[in-house]
């Protein structure tokens, strides 16, 4: 059997896909260019020369209005949290809790004001901190950095403050530490990542806040509270815990205001809001609108607050704070100052003049930024820049004229004021339009790379299809279709590298890889074309296949049309945003339709009915065979599974009437103790049931008889794993306060049990790799008894007591003759479980991984996992039955129908394990199963969250070889029934019938070919879905929904593709490993 070529071929195809994905991603995902420039005091943006008032020392661009600012960031402070409505009789837990803000606003209307603070999506904390300090817009791909916080390179507020010798003191979320290393005069960081921990950060801040404020050794004090956000993630906004948290924040603000001096400005801001489930990251109304509250003990505003709080974008805070503190505005800021904070306490005209000055500086800074940006990058459209430029220069010109008039005192007050106001509105218009232009066009694509990536993926798909249709794979195939293309690719890579070195250009690894991939794809098609005619000629010498005729080919095409039509439907659905949004319903629908169509087709072909002309049937009437009823029952079970799995769906915000499944939140959030206990018992019982089912399956096929370490592990390790998981769930779901003194023990247990599971699963997988054989050999060659036959030989042994169905395997290399001789030489070996040795290894691996993935999900999602296993089992059986009913003559090729339904089930269970292809729906909690505090590296949490997200992809991809193996495993019962009635002389034939998976070993050539074909088919279907996503992203890149729907879908699909393909390789290599072990086992047997 050729093991390495098969694996190598599949790995090569995967690499081709990966390079296509990488190339496309580099062209598609937005990358705004960050300018390295930074503002400084000496920039000529300072007040124009006619304004001769001297700047006080320590001020830049504008005299500072406040020497000190306290910025309190309450993470995820939604606007509704800060709003106070005294008319509400029964406020929700999050309503009317920040009463102190309301008190300030009503008692001192000129000192305090509440704003609606609009965040730019993505509303992840790190993106928001970046926006709040640089005044610039986030780009899409930055979301990925949420695990690893990189220092901000762009000019920002903190850098400006430090540059101008101010002291910045920080306390709270340690994300800031990574973003602004060594920028703080003093800092108190607390770990932020554990969203289950509501109090550590907040209590830590409270411990230091008031002493620090009193000490006065600071110019900007930032306190970032995380409790509200974590409370939202853990319990959701509508929970008593949220009320507690907000009340705590209210008290904090009350005492903070007591400690403030008269020269201090207090800003209370939320970095983003939260959805009804307490998550954030997207751009829905609830996530985007945060609260901003401004307060100072000296009067700030000249007017009373408006009825409805004003809405301002978050970037506006940066220029405002910079100018209030008297430092330069950060270079890349595109925000607009909040002019009413600069009004001072003069008359209307002087107020307007002051505001005009501020706007002038702001506009000049934005104009400077746009100018230098347009020199570096071409993504801002030239005509719009031109328009902005005109707007700016005319406004500046008018400003100069107006100022000259003011100096000559030519205008009377009311007229002047109206002129000033109109000028202000022109500056405002300029700033807002500039921001709009930036927002619009920082979606910068590389069309060439996108098309290149698209065509690489498409060509790889074609390759998969072409290669999977080839009948046999000989050495010549591997030579011409694997080795030569690889050499082509290598040669191209070397040439490109050399060219780069010679031209002294920077080596782009991604480009290099994609060139190599393209070359090797070309090489494949070239060699395949040259190789194909030869095959055809070879086949031509054998008359029957060549003259198969048009009709047979047409029939083959028609047979393909059903599954391929469904696949086409699925791919087409990726192009419509409403279908992508509703994919959780579309996939099960397609799966059910595919299976129904299969049944209909079998019926239409008359495969389900008793063949015409049998004795008990009158002519012209037909009835169903017994096997057909089995098949129909299986289909009913499948439909039931599909329907039930719909109860575990997560919701997208685009479907407002959707309610997320009640099974998604962890048991700990359940307030009804009885329901909690019931659910807990149900989950544990079902888990135990899974173990029981797997064990009885293994026992049924005789794989539990030997005393190998692996078998022992299955017998004793599996229940132990279940025990550990059950204990972990018990500890994790118990109420936090109820345990009192046991708290410390619980802390330990919460860590220890997951680690025990990790360890056990790891040991199990290791054992599986070392000794994948679950075969019990009974060597009876020495025994003096008569011939050992399957059903007579060992009636009294303990193995029989275990209700084992023994399988006998005889070396088939021996010819018919030697087999006849065997009767006389009275020697044979009975091997239990040899017939299902490959599947047993896969089933054990799948069960172990299933345990691991269940641990990473919340407790009640284990029900969904059980449905997953059941559905996979039923699908395998349907596939087997349908094949045997259809009278498939090619046992070594898996039909397209099976592969497509397998993949549809995989994506169906992506949704049914509570996932959605959007960022807020990611289960971040998975990163803390077994880890209490912050992670030291980012790799481990990424792996855990990734495993959680792509759980069904992993399981189905690893289990993919079962599609090939299952018909062999199941061949036994049916044949046994038929043959057992026959006469005893035909015993030899009976023995033949029980070979099961050993049939695969009989023809190693065909086995390896079958595995390769299966892998290629799987990759083709996966690749077709990916291709559809990629094409959708290309075609709809200017679609309104691209960042909300298509781009996340593409990201999830491509990540899913990577995970699936790697797991597919793992699954196939596991089968190969078992094959190795079987080979050595046989050679040892022969030696004995």
């Amino acid at each position: 059997m050729q093991r390495w070529p098969v694996l190598l071929f599949l790995a090569w195809v995967c690499l081709l896909f990966f390079s296509g994905i990488g190339l496309f991603m580099s062209g598609f995902l937005l990358t705004r260019i960050e300018l390295a420039n930074s503002s400084s005091c000496s920039d000529p943006l300072a007040p124009p020369p006619w304004d001769k008032q001297n700047l006080p020392p320590g001020s830049c661009w504008l005299p500072q209005r406040f020497p000190k600012i306290v910025l309190v960031i309450i993470d995820a402070l939604r606007f509704e949290f800060a709003l106070f409505n005294p008319a509400k009789v029964n406020p929700l837990p999050y309503e009317n809790k920040l009463s102190f803000l309301h008190h300030l606003e009503t008692s001192q209307p000129h000192h305090a004001r509440l704003y609606r603070f609009l965040a730019d999506p993505p509303t992840a904390t790190m993106q928001r901190i970046k926006g709040l300090t640089t005044g610039s817009l986030p780009t899409f791909i930055d979301v990925g950095n949420n695990f690893a916080t990189y220092a901000i390179q762009e000019d920002n507020l903190l850098a400006q403050l430090v540059q101008n010798g101010r002291r910045v003191v920080f306390m709270g979320d340690d994300t800031w530490d990574g973003l602004f290393p060594k920028k703080f005069f003093r800092s108190y960081f607390f770990p932020s990542f554990n969203v289950k921990d509501l109090h550590t950060v907040d209590n830590g801040i409270l411990q230091y806040l008031y002493p620090t404020v009193n000490s006065g050794e600071w110019d900007l004090l930032i306190a970032h509270f995380l409790g509200v956000d974590h409370c939202g993630h853990k319990h959701g906004p509508d929970h008593p815990e949220m009320a507690k948290k907000l009340t705590q924040m209210n008290e904090m603000l009350r005492s903070l205001v007591d400690h403030l001096g008269n020269d201090t400005l207090l800003l209370v801001a939320g970095d983003h809001g939260m959805t009804e489930t307490g998550d954030h990251g997207g751009d829905s109304q609830r996530e985007v609108s945060a609260a901003l509250f401004v307060y100072s003990k000296t009067p700030l505003f000249g007017t009373d607050p408006p009825e409805e709080p004003e809405a301002i974008p978050q970037v506006n805070l940066v220029p405002t704070m910079a100018l209030l503190l008297g430092v330069p505005i950060p270079y890349s800021n595109i925000g607009e100052v909040m002019a009413e904070l600069f009004s001072g306490d003069g008359d209307a005209v002087s107020e307007a003049l002051q505001q005009l000055l501020v706007y002038h500086i702001n506009a000049k800074q934005v104009d400077r930024f746009l100018h230098s940006y347009s020199l570096v990058a071409q993504d801002l459209p030239a005509e719009q820049l031109q328009h902005l430029q005109e707007l700016f220069s005319s406004a500046v010109e008018e400003h100069i004229q107006l100022l000259a008039q003011v100096q000559r005192a030519m205008l009377v007050s009311p007229e002047l004021e109206s002129k000033l106001r109109s000028l202000i509105s022109r500056f405002q218009l300029y700033l807002r339009q500039a921001r709009a232009v930036c927002t619009q066009s920082w979606a910068r694509f590389h069309p060439l790379r996108m098309v290149g990536g698209c065509s690489l993926v498409a060509a790889s798909c074609l390759l998969c299809y072409v290669a999977s249709e080839l009948a046999t794979m000989s050495d010549s195939f591997y030579r011409s279709c694997l080795l030569y293309p690889l050499l082509w690719g290598l040669a191209t890579a070397v040439l490109c590298g050399l060219a780069c070195v010679l031209t002294q250009e920077e080596l782009d690894l991604l480009l290099l890889l994609s060139w190599a991939a393209a070359a090797s794809l070309l090489g494949f098609f070239w060699h395949w074309w040259g190789w194909h005619p030869k095959r055809a000629r070879l086949l031509g010498t054998q008359p029957p296949l060549a003259s198969a005729g048009l009709r047979q080919r047409l029939r083959v095409w028609l047979g393909l049309a059903f599954p391929m039509g469904i696949l086409l439907f699925r791919c087409g659905a990726m192009f419509s945003d409403s279908f992508v949004i509703a994919e959780a319903q579309v996939t099960p629908f397609l799966l059910a339709s595919l299976v129904m169509l299969l049944i209909g087709k079998l019926h239409w072909d008359g495969r389900l009915t008793v063949p015409e002309g049998s004795k008990q049937q009158p002519l012209g009437f037909s009835s169903y065979r017994k096997e057909s009823w089995h098949l129909l029952c299986l289909v009913a079970v499948l439909l039931l599974c599909v329907r039930l799995s719909g109860f575990f769906h997560q919701c997208r915000e685009e479907i407002p009437q959707c309610r997320p499944s009640v099974f998604l939140p962890p048991l700990a959030s359940l307030r009804n103790t009885r329901a909690k206990n019931l659910f807990y018992l149900l989950c544990v019982a079902l888990l135990a049931g899974l173990v029981y089912a797997v064990r009885s399956w293994l026992r049924h096929y005789g794989n539990l008889n030997s005393s190998d370490p692996l078998v022992l592990f299955v017998r004793w390790g599996f229940p132990l794993v279940v025990l550990c998981i059950a204990c972990y769930w018990a500890v994790a779901s118990s109420a936090e306060d109820s345990l009192g003194k046991l708290q410390e023990l619980v802390q330990v247990a919460v860590i220890a049990f997951p680690w025990a599971v990790y360890g056990l699963v790891f040991i199990g997988l290791l054992l599986l790799l070392c000794h994948p054989m679950t075969v019990f050999a009974k060597d009876s060659r020495e025994s003096a008894g008569s011939i050992v036959t399957p059903y007579q030989g060992i009636p009294s042994s303990k193995v029989d007591l275990l209700q084992v169905i023994p399988q006998i395997y005889k070396r088939m290399q021996e010819s018919e003759k030697s087999r006849l001789e065997r009767r006389s030489c009275r020697a044979t070996v009975a091997a239990y479980g040899l017939g299902s040795v490959y599947s047993a290894a896969l089933v054990i691996a799948l069960t172990l991984m299933g345990f691991l993935l269940m641990l990473l999900h919340t407790e009640r999602l284990s029900l969904a996992f059980l449905l997953l296993f059941l559905e996979a089992f039923v699908l395998l059986h349907i596939h087997t039955r349908a094949r045997s009913l259809a009278g498939d003559t090619e046992p070594f090729s898996v039909p397209w129908f099976a592969v497509i339904s397998w993949l549809l089930a995989a994506s169906q269970f992506f949704y049914s394990t509570g996932h959605q292809p959007i960022f807020p729906a990611i289960h971040w909690n998975a990163a803390f199963v077994g880890f209490h505090l912050d992670h030291s590296t980012n790799l481990l949490p990424a792996v855990l969250v990734g495993a959680n997200t792509f759980a069904s992809h992993i399981l189905f991809a690893v289990g993919c070889p079962l599609l090939l193996l299952w018909p062999f495993v199941c061949e036994m019962p049916s044949s046994q029934k038929k043959k057992s009635k026959r006469e005893p002389q035909e015993e030899l034939q009976t023995v033949d019938e029980h070979m099961m998976e050993m049939r695969l070993r009989e023809s190693p050539e065909k086995f390896s070919t079958a595995l390769l074909q299966l892998g290629l088919k799987y990759l083709f279907v996966l690749g077709a879905q990916l291709l559809a996503c990629v094409c959708a992203a290309v075609i709809l890149r200017r679609h309104l929904m691209v960042w909300k729907v298509f781009a996340p879908k593409f990201l999830f699909e491509s990540l899913g593709f990577m995970v699936s393909s790697i797991c597919l390789l793992l699954g196939i290599s596991l089968v190969m490993r078992v094959d190795c072990a079987v080979s050595t086992w046989f050679s040892q047997l022969q030696l004995r």
Binding site: A573, F575, S576, S578, F579, A582, Q585, P588, F589, A592, S593, M596, H603, W604, D605, G606, T609, G620, F621, S622, S623, Y624, A636, L639, L640, V642, R643, G646, I1035
Partner: protein, 190 residues
């Protein structure tokens, strides 16, 4: 003979078609605020009743099934009862299939059930009229080379088409329609 048969078949199918169109239009004259989408429950009722009445009368008039032997009254009654039971069972079966396909379990039971009834009138009732309560004959008709007369051929085609057509609508009624509409519109726009 064949010509005449063909003409009768055509007439029957045309009548069916016209009656369905009429059920969508005529009740608007008698009932206030009737429309197919707005008051879909009424329409479902009216449509299924009309089609079933038409089918039964056509069956009685045209007598397409050649195997109508002379039989006693009790035999006829038992045959009729059997037909009723079969029809009811097919309604239940369709209901179950629709629910398995994703229709809500409890919320809109009436809608789902009426839909199942409509589906049964289009499929099972026609089978009952043509072939009688004889499942084995049904199985024969719905397989390759199984149809023996034009009537049976027509039955094959209409039944399969109605099942295929309705499978699309099965998935959550109006939502799917909107999605399909949106999808086609998008395809045209781009």
């Amino acid at each position: 003979m064949k010509e005449a048969e063909l003409r009768r078949l055509l007439a029957a199918n045309l009548l069916c078609f016209v009656s369905i169109v009429l059920t969508a239009l005529v009740p608007a004259l008698f009932l206030d605020g009737f429309s197919v989408l707005g008051t879909h429950l009424t329409w479902l009722c009216v449509c299924s009743v009309c089609v079933s009445v038409l089918n039964v009368t056509l069956c009685l008039i045209l007598k397409p099934s050649p195997s109508s032997k002379r039989s006693s009254l009790s035999n006829k009654i038992s045959r009729f009862l059997k037909c009723c039971i079969y029809f009811f069972m097919s309604c239940i079966l369709f209901h179950a299939i629709i629910v398995l396909y994703g229709a809500p379990l409890i919320e809109s039971v009436t809608e789902t059930f009426l839909f199942a009834v409509l589906l049964s009138t289009f499929t099972t009732l026609q089978c009952l009229c043509l072939l009688g309560p004889n499942i084995q004959a049904w199985i024969r008709v719905f397989s390759r080379n199984g149809a023996m007369s034009i009537w049976e051929n027509s039955l094959q085609i209409t039944t399969m088409c109605s099942i295929l057509g309705d499978i699309q609508a099965t998935q959550n009624g109006s939502e799917t329609e909107q999605m399909l509409l949106g999808f086609t519109c998008k395809l045209f726009l781009q």
